[in-house]
């Protein structure tokens, strides 16, 4: 009996692998549940077991898990073998301003532009647009028509992490964020960037964000 249950689970994990393998890009857990004809809870469970299986030294890829989406990517230790035939160099030039903004999005995200501007003391709309175009950052609608920014799967692939929590000292800075914005962010918004945010918020909200997952 137990044996059967175990085998069934392994078959489910194998079919999860097949789907991730064939799809090739980030896919929502919801969609996975639909394809595998199961509940979202079971998908979560399968994912966490599959993740463990992939840790084995004879496996060549790992699983990146970000909120409601996952993707398979080659393990970081093979980057030197692979970079020779995949010409890609995201590593080159990030200006200090871009790096600053990217760190805030990575460590404090999801974060609004107003909050980023507040910390940096600089209007970041231009740099955020750049990061969006480069695909290192993505955004989703937040409250009141403004956007929340967070790093993308491409960012995680670039740093070879399976989630942002893998970043060094991640928790320390996430906690810091709470103390920064403990008093309502709305007040900060009001006081500081008044005009701009509402305006570009409107612009952006027009565009739709969760475009990633459906074909």
């Amino acid at each position: 009996m137990e044996e059967i249950t175990k085998n069934l689970k392994l078959t489910k994990i194998a079919s999860l692998e097949a789907v991730l393998f064939i799809y090739g890009e980030e896919i929502t857990k919801e969609k996975l549940a639909k394809i595998l004809k199961t509940s979202k809870e079971e998908v979560e469970q399968l994912i966490s077991e599959y993740k463990k299986i992939l840790e084995d030294t004879n496996r060549g890829f790992y699983l990146i898990d970000k909120n409601d989406r996952i993707v398979l990517a080659t393990k970081p230790e093979f980057s030197s073998i692979l970079e020779d035939f995949i010409k890609d160099d995201l590593k080159e030039d990030l200006t200090p301003a871009t790096l600053e903004t990217l760190s805030l999005v990575a460590y404090l995200g999801p974060i609004s532009r107003t909050q980023i501007d507040y910390i940096r003391g600089v209007n970041s709309s231009f740099i955020l647009r750049n990061l969006l175009i480069r695909g290192l950052v993505e955004r989703k609608p937040g409250k009141g028509g403004s956007f929340l920014y967070e790093t993308s799967f491409d960012f995680l692939k670039h740093i070879g992490a399976s989630s942002v929590e893998d970043l060094p000292e991640f928790e320390k800075y996430q906690k810091m964020k709470e103390s920064f914005f403990s008093e309502s962010v709305e007040d900060i918004n009001k006081n500081n960037i008044k005009n701009e945010e509402t305006k570009s918020g409107n612009n952006l909200s027009k565009e739709e964000t969760n475009n990633q997952n459906s074909i």
């Binding site: 200006t95 790096l99 990217l102 760190s103 800075y173 500081n192």
Partner: protein, 242 residues
Amino acid sequence: MYEIKTEEFSGPLDKLLELIESKKLDITTISLAQVTDDFIKYIETLKNNISENQDDSDIFKNSRQLADFLVIASGLILIKSKSLLPQLELTLEEEESVFELEKRIQIYAQIKPLFALMKKHWLSTNQTYSRGLLLSMPTVFYPPKNIDGFLLNKSLEGLIKTLGSYFYEQEKIQRQLFSLEEKISEISKKIINGISRFSQMIDQKSKGESIVLFLALLHLLRDRVLDVNQIGTFEEMEITKL
């Protein structure tokens, strides 16, 4: 590989923090007042660098950064003016903005190590790769159901509009920028013409411009070109030429 561009100046909070640290001060309102002059001086050197720069594109980019400096400068000016003119009563909003600035510098000081950490991490980690969407999938023609030329047209129109307002926004930020010297000479002229009240001067000006005007005023004050009298709380500031 990665290289810090030397012409890239640090942001206003970074500069402010640097000034405070170079004087070995704690981050307090008093220290902010103490570094205000240096900060304004720094803005002027920035501005000079920008006008010496022949490349229009950099002027665009740098002048935007200058605008960011001016916004912070306006908070500093408030602090400084309070220390120069102790009788100056601040409105609640102004009090808050003084407090805010102090808080922001503290936040910046706390977060700054993150930037170095991230840079190191960004450079030292290993790129990983996903397969790419349906990598081994052949092209099959799957047209969407409800689509026609008008739908495409409408979608594009919306997109162009969005892009347009983005550029408008960028231009607006740039327009808010005014040369300090220009404003100084404007003030001098107006004083000579007998318009001495600050409120008359900022009449019908945008907020950004008022900030610059006030900044210029303080500048003249520091250089002892002007004298400012405020009769009482919430009263008009009377400006006279010395």
